[in-house]
């Protein structure tokens, strides 16, 4: 028997039935529309968010370990290192860097950096910038396209040269000029020559190693000019902190070394730091965490979408049960003519599937439209994966079958004699 010839009249019958009860069908389908729509939209939003997070983590480099100075939570304790008033002394030391480089196996490179906020001036313009005092290797570890000039060189470090590399954003706001490289600017008490301009880190959800307006200067120059203490004067007097190094980026030879090495660093640091005034960030771990978060996110969203699909399915079942009662006579006629029970089941299943797949298709459009709107209005990235469309379609067909089965069985189980007598 030609199956297409057999099924088509029932599909057509299902369609005419849907058309005959337009309002009812529309309301019933709404459940599926929102169910399927929310599945696709949620997957798209989740996918977009996690992709963004993953990308920014990947940019940090999966072979890197970031060791950061953190102000200890216990204020009193942090002052014990130095008794000079309110000067907080904490954080990583040059010795820490040396110890990590020398004792932790698999370390290729360590990049120390000290970050402070300082005001940069050019003529009458001024801008608070994050000043990153570091070594030339910074630019090898934190990859950043060079727009003009050059980055720091080993010689700059040796000579304690008054040179700086600016980020594009900082340049625009401070210089606002074409002749950027070679320009001299003042940062705090020093005058620096701009030797290069690098591209900004694009926005990400994970802490980036550089922020919008950065000035990179040689570490040695920073020590010479500014010292290691960063002192702010306020109404209550002076307040300051002394941090040798704000950050050490540890580059490992291989991704596989990263996790054992982070443990080793932890051990090394713990031995020499009484307070926990440092934090170790492993982009790889962050990556794993982000993936875990994504999974949790998907499960939660999936559960919500699943519930809305369930509700939609129950709505369809309800309508189909009403339809079976309404069409009892028709079932009797078909049975009398010689339709087996199984054909009645098939007919009602097709009818349910027309409803659920119809709702599913509309839901699919809604599900594709919502992420577009979200991206258009909030700028949040969304990614509609082809598999989610397939999933939504499969789900709606599945719902039709699962929730159509009971009404269909009920229709088929009617006694033809009773069904014929039904008015």
């Amino acid at each position: 028997m030609n199956q297409v010839f057999y099924f088509w009249p029932f599909v057509k019958l299902g369609l005419t039935d849907v058309w005959r009860h337009k309002t009812r069908s529309f309301l019933t389908m709404l459940g599926m529309v929102f169910g399927v729509g929310s599945v696709i939209a949620m997957l798209a939003v989740g996918e977009g968010a996690s992709q963004q997070a993953l990308e920014s983590i990947k940019r940090l480099g999966s072979e890197n370990i970031m060791v950061m100075s953190v102000k200890p939570t216990d204020e009193e304790g942090s002052n014990t290192g130095s008794q000079r008033g309110r000067l907080a002394v904490y954080g990583l030391l040059y010795d820490d860097e040396a110890r990590i480089r020398e004792t932790v196996p698999g370390v290729v490179l360590t990049v120390p950096a000290r970050m402070t906020r300082r005001v940069a001036r050019l003529n009458e313009r001024q801008l608070e910038m994050r000043v990153v005092e570091t070594v030339p290797e910074w630019f090898a570890v934190v990859q950043r396209p060079v727009l003009a000039g050059r980055t720091l060189a080993p010689n700059d470090l040796q000579m304690r040269a008054n040179v700086c590399v600016l980020t594009e954003h900082g340049v625009r706001r401070l210089l606002a000029a074409e002749h950027m490289v070679g320009q001299r600017i003042r940062i705090s008490s020093g005058v620096f020559e701009v030797i290069g301009i690098v591209k900004n880190e694009t926005g990400g959800t994970v802490r980036a190693p550089d922020s919008e307006a950065d000035a990179y200067i040689p570490l040695t120059t920073g020590t010479k000019l500014f010292g290691e203490a960063n002192i702010r004067y306020s109404a209550g007097g002076m307040e300051g902190e002394k941090v040798e190094l704000s950050q050490i980026i540890v580059r490992m030879a291989e991704t596989a070394f990263v996790e054992p090495a982070s443990k080793a660093i932890e051990t090394v640091l713990a031995r020499f730091h009484k307070k926990k005034d440092y934090r170790i960030d492993v982009p790889l771990t962050l990556l794993r965490e982000a993936e875990r978060t994504k999974r949790t996110y998907n499960i939660v969203l999936g559960a919500i979408a699943g519930i809305s699909l369930l509700v939609g399915g129950i709505g369809i079942m309800n309508i189909m049960l009403a339809s079976v009662t309404e069409r009892t006579k028709e079932i009797g006629i078909r049975r009398a003519i010689g339709a087996r029970r199984s054909r009645i089941v098939v007919q009602f299943l097709i009818n349910t599937c027309v409803l659920s797949i119809g709702g599913g298709v509309v839901g699919l459009l809604v599900g594709v439209a919502i992420p577009l709107l979200i991206t258009a209005f909030t700028g949040m990235p969304t990614v509609v994966r082809p598999y989610s469309l397939l999933l939504a379609f499969g789900i709606s067909a599945g719902i039709g079958i699962v929730f159509g089965l009971y009404p269909a069985m009920r229709a088929a189980s009617l006694d033809p004699i009773d069904a014929l007598r039904h008015e």
Binding site: M1, N2, F5, Y6, W8, P9, L13, T16, D17, R20, K329, E330, G332, I333, R334, R335, A336, I337, G338, A339, R340, R341, S342, R343, P416, I417, L420
Partner: protein
């Protein structure tokens, strides 16, 4: 011819319908209702019978059994050479599909299908390809005089026209027996005459027609007559065969 016999032998080749001691008992509470209580007769291919009887005579039960919608509690019912009493639900459905054409008092067309689609329903279940179905539906519609209404819905037709469609549908599977249950019960007398003329025509073309009715003047159209009362055959006329 009527064969009152108790031994269950296979029917002769020309006996399209044969009942041997058919009983149909129901249990209603503690009581047993003997709707049919030992009915035996046979109908030859190409004959035109009426089954009569007042309400409560077992006429409806007889119709259900003849129409393979119900099975006898005991006894044998041979339709087109096969004993229906031993069939399961699927076999019974298939048997109806291949051997029976129903015409009902209330037409029983499917309201959301067009005339053509209604006529095609049995052919659809028989697995006939669409083009063949359409062509055959057109031929049948022509045969019952309804070919100008093929694309209409039943609700757009008069009672007589609907019954013509029902007859066309009953013929769609080339049944061994055409079973009509009060086919004129919902029609006015002029239309009734036209429908009975249609059955006469089909009979003359060689169809086996069984008419179940309580109206004596409708039964008069048939060539032979069985009268049921209290579940048994009261009388049997076979005059004009």
């Amino acid at each position: 011819m009527i064969v009152h016999t108790t031994e269950r032998e296979r029917p002769r080749a020309d006996e399209v319908v044969r009942l041997d001691e058919v009983k149909r008992h129901y249990r209603v509470g503690d009581e047993t209702v003997r709707a049919l209580d030992g009915v035996s007769f046979s109908i030859r291919t190409g004959s035109y019978w009426a089954i009569m009887g007042p309400s409560g005579s077992g006429k409806s039960t007889m119709l259900n059994i003849l129409g393979c919608l119900d099975r006898p509690s005991s006894g044998a019912y041979w339709l087109n050479g096969v004993n229906v009493a031993e069939m399961d639900d699927n076999e019974l459905s298939d048997h109806r599909l291949r051997n029976l054409g129903f015409v009902f008092q209330s037409f029983n067309l499917i309201p959301q299908l067009t005339v053509s689609e209604n006529i095609e329903v049995p052919m659809l279940y028989l697995g006939m390809p669409q083009i063949e179905r359409r062509q055959k539906a057109e031929r049948l519609a022509e045969r019952v005089g309804i070919s100008h209404r093929l694309r209409h819905l039943p609700s757009e037709l008069s009672g007589g026209q609907r019954q013509r469609v029902a007859v066309a549908r009953a013929l769609a599977n080339d049944p061994a027996v055409l079973l009509a249950d009060e086919p004129t019960g919902n029609l006015d007398s002029a239309t009734s005459v036209q429908i009975m003329a249609l059955f006469q025509e089909l009979y003359e073309q060689g169809k086996t027609v069984i008419l179940v009715t309580h109206e004596p003047d409708i039964a008069e159209y048939a060539k032979a007559k069985i009268v049921l009362k209290d579940g048994v055959i009261l009388s049997c006329e076979e005059g004009r065969l």
